[in-house]
Amino acid sequence: MVDLNLKAEPFLGHYSKGFKGVDLREIDDNSLVSLALPLGEESKAIKAIEAAFGIPVPDVGHSALAKNGAMRLLRLGRDQLFVVFLYEGMDSEPYIADKLAGAVYSTDQSHVWVTLEISGPSARAALERICPIDLNPDAFAIHQLARTNMEHLGTIIIRTAPDTYLLMSASSSAGSFLHAVETSIENVA
């Protein structure tokens, strides 16, 4: 019998590197499921989400973190959220769907996105070279998020701490995305 076990490989090989004033690393242990709120039943869906996860559903353009830090809700649109959570199983979407019992439409997005965490005192300066969004602290508060483009690549940016941002972009172009972010850091470091 041949060994036909499958092994998952991170998109960027668990990339992690320190630069002058900036740390950059791949976050590869999160599961990600999108939640679509059924038309006309949005309030019901929001209540179900809040009940299931104990996190108030944030406004569009904001995220909310569970008290234990293991789950974050991203409100990307009036009828769309992402739930990002630590989960070891491969059945992320059924796991979430079960908790919501048909109140939303859910899709596994865990493998659609590559996630980079950029942090450090020079992180914002580096992002100025690639991110069109105003990241000034009073314009982009902690837990705020935005969908934007960085070097032609669609990106979701979330501010998770004073000098820390999560950058999510398409996994197929993970290498190009990393190169673009690395270049931005090196150009200011």
Binding site: L4, N5, F11, L39, Y105, D108, R129, S171, S173
Partner: protein, 982 residues
């Protein structure tokens, strides 16, 4: 050469000496010098040759609007032509060379062209050099291009790196002169987010060039103090060496920051950054530009703008001449004379075009009121000037002032027109400013210092209050309002010699008059006929004098004559900066398939498909070329089993109670009754009835579908669906999300595909034809628990499946599939074999869905349901798209099997001439079919479905090919489809 013209004072750092070369000559300067100030300090007056006549030229100004002193900076691949010496910051080791001359600068062999000037007036090339006709392209034009022009390119790749970036602010202050600094201080104190940008390396603008006091201290000292206060504010970003070059929609500005141009090397960091600045408000405080007066031989080295002459003396500690004369039409020109005299420089004369009494008393100077200069002398440097009364005055520098033009350029970047101001004899900002823009200081026509400081502060306070901030109560800085009044005087009519208006393009007063005489009455025509106002300075010193002369010719006023349109960029932007990082393979992102690493390790040759890198074929040892590999991949797939990464096809997850209805409107064919667990082919049309994209839809649940699209149209189809969902049918409960990148999907094709897959599916998932027939789909697990999706679909015509696993498992999955397929001699295949098999099977792809073909053309007319509506249906029914002789997709095979076919060939009936009138259609796809043993093709030909068996000619004049071909069914392989259903 020592710094013979260096005088006391100025803002240069004399504690350090910088060495540089000009045309190979070693020279010295100091930090704080520009190349221009250092050249003048070293007595170098001649710095270049003019564009057309190769006239000796010197430094004319002290700003970014310099028309004359263009040089080549640096060497080798770093060499940059057409750099304005007046803004090039001096650094140790700088290498500069003059440009546009043959032989040494002093003895340019092309200077003889000046003698031919009578034949080279405006538009000469439209009138002369017309005979013989063939000579224009081969002799005249190359010679003219070779003899005229600016600097030369290194012809090497630019080794520097460039970057781009994004900035945001409440208020962008453009220009850090008196008004700009005053405004930034006021706005900064309010707490608003401010960006203060200036093209100069030293903030202060005219304050650094003048001797006026502000708040009781030297203007330059006040500027330094203001900058220090601003630098201490967290809410203020100071950007020197930064030109705001364009005002765009919604308060967005383009800015070029020169990061390392003042350093010997960039050290691997970006040389320049092109910033996109998003502002809530902007305040233009860009100052004003002095204009010259045209008179005979006014282009000699040593003839300079008066403000520039005193800038060199006051800011740089350089005397542009030992004996200086001033020619002015305004009070400000007199300031040059008094400033220079105060520094001990001999003033030969002050010639004022106005009558009246002299505005100042200057020891030893000849005061000529109502004076006119008609000529100058001195081939390579000014020696004397001649007045209209015949008086000759010896001088080696002539400071000319024709008044000041507010720098209104950015106010006009969105087609705003400036207004004429009679008091200033200049254009001031018009009423139609870019959204959010205000103007203050000299740029707004407020030329006096005290008024400009107050204007800047007041405007800034208005803006911050409007933005909801509390304005600072601090008073505006105090300064005197200096005299600047003048009387318009544009050119010396008594002069019989050539009088230059545009120094950069060698346009004279006579050229403008001639242009008018030849019927070019519009300013826009004048500009294009004479080339006035073009090139690096964009006519900043020449436009208004030219307009004035044009107005004289037409008998109109200047505002009636009009002005040309100011467009971005304000000053030149290097191409490298515009490109930024988007060079070479970084021009666009690259997408990799999940099995990319496996493919690379297993000999794949890759091809770019859109942004994707796809395996094209997998060469094996002994194969002599790509055809060997592709033929083998096809044959082995058809004989047993082949595996291909098809992740690149778009995947769109569609959910909602109304998803079926939504799909029914999107696709031409019916989708309401697609059962759960089944896949259906779908065709979508553009609104105009032309085929748009095709693919499959799998129904995974009651309200859950997965659509596939072609690789090329994945994003476009998604966008189209979102538009339909949000705008066409907002009442439908439908939700979309792309999962293209989330699933690694592999085609497993061939008679042994089922046997192979049965080794990896879990829990004895039944793959039999009965349990999982053609066009079935299922969610399952593989390899002991990995989630997967399985589709029984076939692009190759074989019994085939597509198996998808989460993308992180994709690379391992390819290895597992190959391992499981080892006993079946499984082969990986690339896009070429995939293409061959789809042509053998007669499937349409991008070549066929090319934006010109309809469902009828594609032989898919039956897919357009008559029982329901869909996007594009109505217009697909246009009679002309449904003519009896419409083209149809059919197959073609060469009559002589040895002959290859060429895609792009056009079909011509036997006996007809090969021309457009006899065109019957075209060959869209061809391949060598290893199964058939000859070339095969798909193509469109009129009434093709009724012409099977007919022989036509496939003609390709572009590639010199003509082949007789037989019209056949497009389904070369297994036309009944038994294999894929088996």
């Amino acid at each position: 050469m020592s710094q013979t013209n260096r005088i006391k004072g100025g803002l240069v750092d004399r504690s350090q000496t910088l060495k540089f070369t000009f045309n190979g000559k070693s020279m010295q300067g100091h930090p704080g010098d520009t190349l221009a100030s250092a050249l003048l300090a070293n007595g170098q007056k001649l710095v270049g040759r003019s564009f057309k006549y190769h006239r000796p030229r010197g430094i004319f100004s002290a700003g970014s609007y310099e028309p004359n002193a263009l040089v080549e900076l640096r060497t080798g691949a770093h060499q940059e032509p057409n750099t304005r010496a007046t803004v090039a910051e001096l650094f140790d080791g700088l290498t500069a060379n003059s440009q546009n001359h043959r032989g040494p600068l002093e003895f340019d062999v092309m200077s003889g062209v000046d003698l031919l000037a009578p034949f080279l007036s405006a538009g000469f090339y439209y009138k002369t050099f017309m005979w013989p006709k063939a000579f224009w392209e081969k002799i005249y034009e190359p010679f003219i291009r070779m003899s005229a022009g600016l600097g030369s390119l290194s012809m090497q790749e630019d080794p520097d790196v460039y970057d781009k970036g994004f900035l945001h602010c409440d208020l962008l202050v453009i220009g850090a002169g008196p008004a700009g600094l005053s405004a930034a201080l006021a706005a900064g104190r309010s707490g608003a987010k401010i960006i203060l940008a200036d093209e100069d390396f030293l903030f202060g603008g005219q304050l650094n060039a003048e001797t006026y006091a502000v708040d009781g201290m030297a203007g330059s000292g006040w500027a330094a103090q203001a900058v220090a206060e601003l630098a201490a504010m967290d809410n203020v970003r100071l950007m020197n060496r930064t030109t705001i070059y364009g005002a765009y929609d919604h308060g967005i500005f383009g800015a070029l920051e020169r990061c390392t141009d003042h350093l010997p090397t960039s050290g691997g960091k970006p040389r320049q950054i092109l910033w996109k600045i998003y502002s809530k408000r902007s305040l233009l405080t860009a100052g004003a530009t002095e204009r010259p007066i045209a008179f005979g031989n006014n282009d000699r080295p040593g003839v300079m703008l008066a403000g520039a002459v005193r800038t060199y003396a006051n800011r740089y500690g350089v005397a542009p001449g030992k004996r200086v004369a001033v020619f002015t039409n305004n009070d400000d020109g007199w300031r040059t004379a008094t400033d220079l005299a105060d520094k001990g420089i001999e003033i030969a004369a002050v010639i004022d075009s106005r009558d009246g009494t002299p505005r100042a008393s200057i020891h030893g100077a000849n005061m000529v009121m109502g004076g006119r200069i008609v000529d100058t002398a001195g081939r390579k440097g000014l020696k004397s000037l001649t007045l209209s009364n015949g008086q000759v005055i010896k001088a080696d520098c002539l400071a000319v002032s024709g008044g000041w033009n507010p720098n209104v350029h950015l106010t006009c970047h969105q087609r705003g027109r400036p207004n004429w101001n009679d008091d200033l004899s200049a254009f001031v900002p018009g009423d139609d400013l870019p959204v959010g823009m205000s103007v203050a200081g000299a740029a707004n026509g407020t030329l006096a210092l005290g008024a400009a400081l107050k204007d800047g502060r007041d405007r800034a306070n208005e803006i911050v209050k409007d933005l909801g901030f509390k304005a600072s109560r601090k008073a505006a800085p105090k300064a005197e309002d200096e005299a600047y009044k003048g009387a318009p005087f544009w050119h010396v009519g008594e002069s019989r010699k050539r009088a230059w208006v545009d120094l950069q393009n060698d346009v004279t007063v006579k050229d403008i008059k001639q242009s008018h005489a030849e019927g070019f009455r519009s300013v826009e025509h004048l500009k294009r006929y004479t080339t006035l106002g073009m090139a690096t300075d964009q006519g900043k010193t020449s436009n208004i004098p030219a307009l004035a002369i044009m107005a004289e010719c037409t008998g109109k006023t200047i505002p009636q004559t009009g002005t040309t349109i100011f467009r971005p960029p304000y000053t030149p932007i290097p191409m490298g900066a515009l490109a930024g990082r988007a060079r070479g393979k970084n021009f666009r992102p690259t997408r990799l398939t999940p099995s990319h690493i496996w493919a690379k390790e297993n000999g794949a040759t890759f091809v770019e498909v859109g942004n994707w890198m796809r395996a094209q074929w997998f060469a094996r040892p002994g194969e002599k070329g790509w055809r060997d590999s592709v033929d083998r991949e096809v044959e082995m797939t058809r004989a047993s089993v082949g595996i291909c990464d098809v992740t690149t096809l778009g995947k769109i997850d569609i959910q909602g109670k109304d998803a079926a209805e939504f799909l029914n409107h999107i696709y031409t064919n019916a989708f309401l009754k697609l059962p759960v667990g089944k896949v259906r082919y779908g065709l979508m049309l553009r609104e105009d009835g032309i085929a748009y994209d095709d693919g499959t839809v799998a129904r995974l649940g009651e309200n859950h579908y997965v659509m596939t699209t072609t690789t090329a149209n994945a994003v476009l189809v998604f966008r189209r669906l979102e538009f339909a969902r949000q705008c066409l049918w907002p009442g439908l409960d439908v939700h979309l999300i792309s999962t293209t990148d989330g699933w690694a999907q592999f085609a497993v094709a061939g008679s042994n595909s089922r046997s192979l897959l049965s080794k990896i599916v879990d829990d004895g998932f039944d793959l039999s034809n009965e349990a999982f027939p053609f066009m079935a789909c299922a969610e399952l697990t593989v390899c002991a628990g990995t989630p997967a999706r399985l589709f029984r679909i076939s692009f190759s015509g074989e019994m085939a499946f597509e198996i998808a696993v989460p993308a992180r498992f994709g690379n391992a999955m390819m290895g597992v599939l190959m391992q499981a397929g080892e006993e079946f001699d499984a082969v990986p295949y690339g896009t070429e074999a995939l293409g061959v098999m789809r042509i053998e099977k007669g499937h349409a792809a991008g070549n066929e869905l090319n934006g010109q073909t309809t469902a009828v053309n594609l032989g898919l007319g039956g897919f357009v349901s008559q029982k329901k509506d869909c996007i594009g249906k109505t217009l697909s029914e246009r009679p002309d798209l449904n003519r009896d002789d419409a083209i149809r997709l059919v197959g073609f095979k060469p009559v002589d099997p040895a002959k290859p076919l060429l895609a792009g060939s056009h079909f011509i009936n036997k006996g007809d001439t090969a021309n457009m009138a006899n065109d019957q259609g075209w060959m869209s796809s061809v391949a060598f079919s290893p199964i058939m043993g000859h070339s095969i093709g798909l193509g469109f030909i009129k009434q093709g479905h009724e012409r099977k068996g007919e022989i036509v000619r496939a003609v390709n004049p572009a590639r010199g090919s003509e082949v007789d071909v037989e019209i056949v069914s497009p389904h070369f392989y297994d036309p009944e489809g038994g294999l894929q259903r088996g």
